[in-house]
């Protein structure tokens, strides 16, 4: 024992001299950004799935009831199980983030944002309670309330509403940090310029994310399935997940573009950083990844129909070629350097054939906007053609290749989630609250008051 104490004592002594007695309170900016950024990403990756499942699950249960299909009911039940397993994981990370990291590293910021967003955070807390109560009720009354399906679906509907409200309230805070509005007016706060687009973007995104995720999960279960019934179910559920995920992702180019437009109008510095500054390479990766996701999904559709010789595989291959060309267009960099900002600073902002480093084919207007339009149109056509061919598909006959594509889509979606979060959170720099509070020392920036005329 004394030997152990002799070993530990110097370590404690060293710690006592090195570890500060109080919270870092913004003094270690890099440490805070790494700790908070990585944990937030993990939190969003899990919370996005839970929110998506709480919104999609009840919808699938309703569809199953209307169509009288057992597959839907089994899938919705599985999503319910997922929520009950992972809700607490996501919540634990959130609480750790708030009580330890945010208060510890950015205490002044946290106090300010809670003061400003007290009402949204108050509602957020109660929707949190509502969500967890309804989620457990919804899942654990599945069999006991089978004779009262209408009531059970109503509980699911309330769960979906609570989950949406929860996302919306936290979006009010997140969007306020990027595009602050008059904090004295709760309506202005709740409807600040980017709260609408962010909420729509995130809700649709969460629905797509959970769908791609359970698609990948079902692919693994399909490969391990022992019975023909399980193979049929997991084959169908994987396809359903991908179909739903693509259908939701289709809306994202319009919603995301609208979001970026609002950022341009109300937080020009952040927008410039995303489009022309240090975040532009990440933005380029994002738009390319979107194309890769649509392309991968189209390839799945084509392969799945071909496996059962269902009609439509040929057209889907043609659409995949179209998607490749569109992705190549979208992936064109505008500045053939790190960013336009650096190219312009070097005086090389002229076309490459004039000795500069500008590639006009990579410009946002019109080329990337056109690419976004083509993404949407080609993906809609792919979904329609796949649906047309589906009656010819026999569930349970899928090959390994299709399942690998489903798993790959889950990885791509997670990458997309992390990329989007990274862009949004870093676009505000050097501010924690755009134009109002800096990261460095959490300094409040005084709001300029208009000069009164004599």
């Amino acid at each position: 024992m004394s030997a152990l104490l002799a070993l530990i004592a110097p370590a404690f002594h060293a710690l006592q001299t090195q570890v500060p007695a109080q919270a870092p309170q913004g003094r270690n900016i890099v440490g805070a950004q790494i700790a908070i950024g990585s944990l937030f990403s993990l939190h969003i990756l899990i919370a996005g799935l839970v929110s998506g499942a709480a919104e999609l699950g009840p919808a699938i249960e309703f569809l199953g009831y209307v169509r009288q299909r057992r597959n839907y009911d089994r899938l919705a039940h599985g999503l319910g199980r997922f929520i009950t397993y992972y809700f607490s994981v996501s919540s634990t990370i959130a609480i750790l983030l708030i009580t330890v990291l945010l208060v510890g590293f950015w205490g002044h910021f946290w106090t300010t944002i809670v003061t400003i967003g007290w009402w949204p955070l108050f509602i957020e807390a109660w929707t949190f309670v509502l969500q967890v109560s309804l989620a457990y009720l919804w899942y654990y009354t599945w069999e006991p309330m089978r004779a009262f399906k209408g009531v059970h679906m109503a509980i699911g509907g309330l769960l979906a509403v609570a989950s949406f409200l929860q996302v919306y309230m936290i979006d009010v805070i997140a969007s306020y940090m990027l595009t602050p509005s008059n904090p004295q007016n709760p309506v202005r706060l709740a409807l600040n310029p980017t709260s609408y687009p962010l909420t729509v973007h995130r809700t649709v995104g969460n629905l797509a994310y959970i769908a791609f995720a359970f698609g990948g999960f079902c692919a693994i279960r399909y490969l391990r399935a022992k019975t023909a019934e399980d193979r049929r179910f997991y084959d169908w559920a994987g396809s359903f997940g991908l179909l739903w995920g693509v259908s939701m992702t289709l809306l994202q180019p319009v919603v995301g573009y609208s979001y970026a437009k609002e950022v341009q109008l109300h937080s020009y510095g952040s927008w410039y950083k995303m489009m022309f500054g240090s975040l532009s390479p990440v933005f380029l990766w994002q738009i390319t990844l979107l194309g890769i996701m649509f392309l991968t999904a189209t390839l799945y559709f084509a392969r799945r129909l071909r496996t059962d010789e269902a009609p439509g595989s040929g057209i889907l291959k043609l659409l995949a070629v179209g998607m490749v060309l569109t992705t190549l267009l979208a992936a064109q960099p505008y500045a053939l350097g790190f960013s336009y900002e650096t190219v312009a600073a070097a005086g090389l902002n002229r076309p490459f054939w004039e000795g500069g480093l500008i590639n006009p084919l990579g410009s946002m207007i019109p080329w990337k906007v056109l690419a976004l339009m083509f993404y949407t149109l080609i993906a809609i056509a792919a979904v329609v053609w796949y649906l047309r061919g589906l009656p010819g598909v026999v569930w349970g006959t899928a090959r390994r290749g299709e399942q690998r594509i489903l798993m790959l889509m889950t990885v791509f979606t997670m990458l997309m989630m992390v990329t989007m979060g990274f862009i949004r959170e870093n676009s505000r720099g050097p501010f924690l609250i755009s134009g109002e509070m800096t990261i460095q020392g959490q300094q409040n920036v005084p709001t300029p008051t208009p000069q009164s005329s004599p």
């Binding site: 509005s181 409807l191 709260s195 609408y196 809306l251 919603v255 019109p366 047309r388």
Partner: protein, 388 residues
């Protein structure tokens, strides 16, 4: 007294056959289930009639000239409380009409009611939707206040993006290259004469076709709904097909030919129609009294600090115009035109007998996307305007 009235009715019936007309009109067999959803058509008709009545009243006071249009409406606002309410009813019933006719179209689309033999019901319905939209847009020009003037500038400019004949169309509508007195006179003429002259015969045709083929209702009323359900047998065919004598033409259509259960249009469906229509009229009246019809300052073409705000039904297109760069605007304007053409062609593209929306994904998915896009663009547009 009662005998005299009865005798008068007999006299009238002998000359007009009113009794058989009423019987034919009121005792139609309509599907039972989901009947509240089938009230949207009659609600649309009631709102159009409300538009007609209040519109006639307004033409008695409104002066369609750039110098006096605003003055005449301002007189209503300031000195004629009843007139102001009538104008409010005209405006709010137009807004609610657009919403209700949109819902009616969406219901018809999702229920597959446009399929054989009702293709022309759908085509006339699409025509009515476009005309009502045209009425709303032209009506928005007439007050000649700031909002009306700048709406007119934007809308007539949109016409100019039509390939090849765009400039000609704009000049034709405006009466010159720029906005002026002829713009208002022409728009007034289009609003009160041209569009109604097409609208009302089309309503007649729509109703006549509805009577010929009967209300389809929804797939849940038919044997076909049971075909895809696990462990549920398809019920036997009803003993008679009271609604569609020339139909079905093929064995696969028998599942969708006659509703399993029907009831008389009068009093069952008329009661529900009456409730919904009356509720909408009450809502219109409350809005007309509580909010009324706004009238901004008189149009000032020289102003530099006025921010035009589009009408709510214009928000999806407005949001697209804001999002899309100038070079691609003609591409965006293809969307509504192409959308209307696609809607007109829909019954001739989707010709299969299946009516269950869950079994028609190839049509339902693009349709659902279109509706979702419109809703999302409206939301985004309203959010943008709120933060102007």
């Amino acid at each position: 007294m009662r005998r005299r009235l009865s005798a008068a009715y007999d006299w009238f019936d002998e000359r007009t056959a009113i009794r058989s007309l009423l019987r034919k009109g009121l005792y139609e067999a309509v599907p039972v289930r989901g009947a509240w959803f089938y009230t949207l058509g009659s609600a649309t008709l009631v709102l159009i009639i409300l538009q007609l009545i209040t519109g006639i009243f307004l033409t008695l006071l409104f002066v369609p000239s750039v110098t006096e249009a605003w003055q005449s409406l301002n007189y209503l606002k300031e000195h004629d409380a009843f007139g102001a309410i009538v104008r409010g009813i005209h405006l709010w019933s137009a807004y609610i009409l657009l919403f209700v006719i949109g819902l009616h179209m969406v219901r018809t689309f999702f229920s597959g009611s446009y399929k054989r033999p009702r293709e022309l019901n759908w085509v006339t319905g699409v025509g009515l939707f476009v005309l009502v939209l045209g009425m709303a847009i032209t009506g928005a020009f007439l007050p000649w206040d700031q909002a009306a003037y700048w709406t007119a500038v934007v809308v007539t400019n949109i016409a100019a993006y039509t390939p090849f004949i765009g400039s000609f169309l704009r000049a034709l509508w405006r009466g010159a290259d720029t906005m002026g007195p002829i713009t208002l006179s022409r728009t007034f003429g289009i609003h009160v004469w041209l569009l109604p002259a097409i609208l009302f015969p089309l309503i007649g045709a729509h109703l006549a076709l509805l009577r010929k083929h009967g209300e389809f209702g929804s797939y849940i009323n038919y044997r076909g709904a049971y075909k895809s359900r696990e462990g549920v047998d398809v019920p036997p065919a009803p003993a008679q097909r009271p609604i569609e004598p020339p139909y079905p033409a093929a064995p696969s259509e028998e599942l969708w030919a006659a509703p399993l259960q029907t009831e008389d249009f009068y009093p069952h469906q008329t009661f529900k129609d009456g409730i919904v229509s009356a509720a909408l009229v009450v809502v219109v009246f409350i809005l007309a009294v509580a909010i009324g019809a706004p009238l901004e300052a008189i149009a000032d073409p020289a102003t530099t600090n006025y921010t035009p705000v589009p009408e709510w039904f214009f928000l999806p297109l407005d949001e697209l115009l804001v999002l899309v760069p100038q070079q691609l605007i003609p591409l965006v304007l293809v969307l509504p035109t192409g959308g209307v053409l696609l809607l007109l062609a829909l019954p001739f593209i989707d010709r299969g007998p299946e009516r269950n929306p869950f079994e028609r994904p190839a049509v339902m998915v693009p349709g659902a996307f279109a509706v979702l896009f419109v809703v999302i663009l409206t939301l985004l547009g309203s959010g943008r305007l709120f933060n102007l």
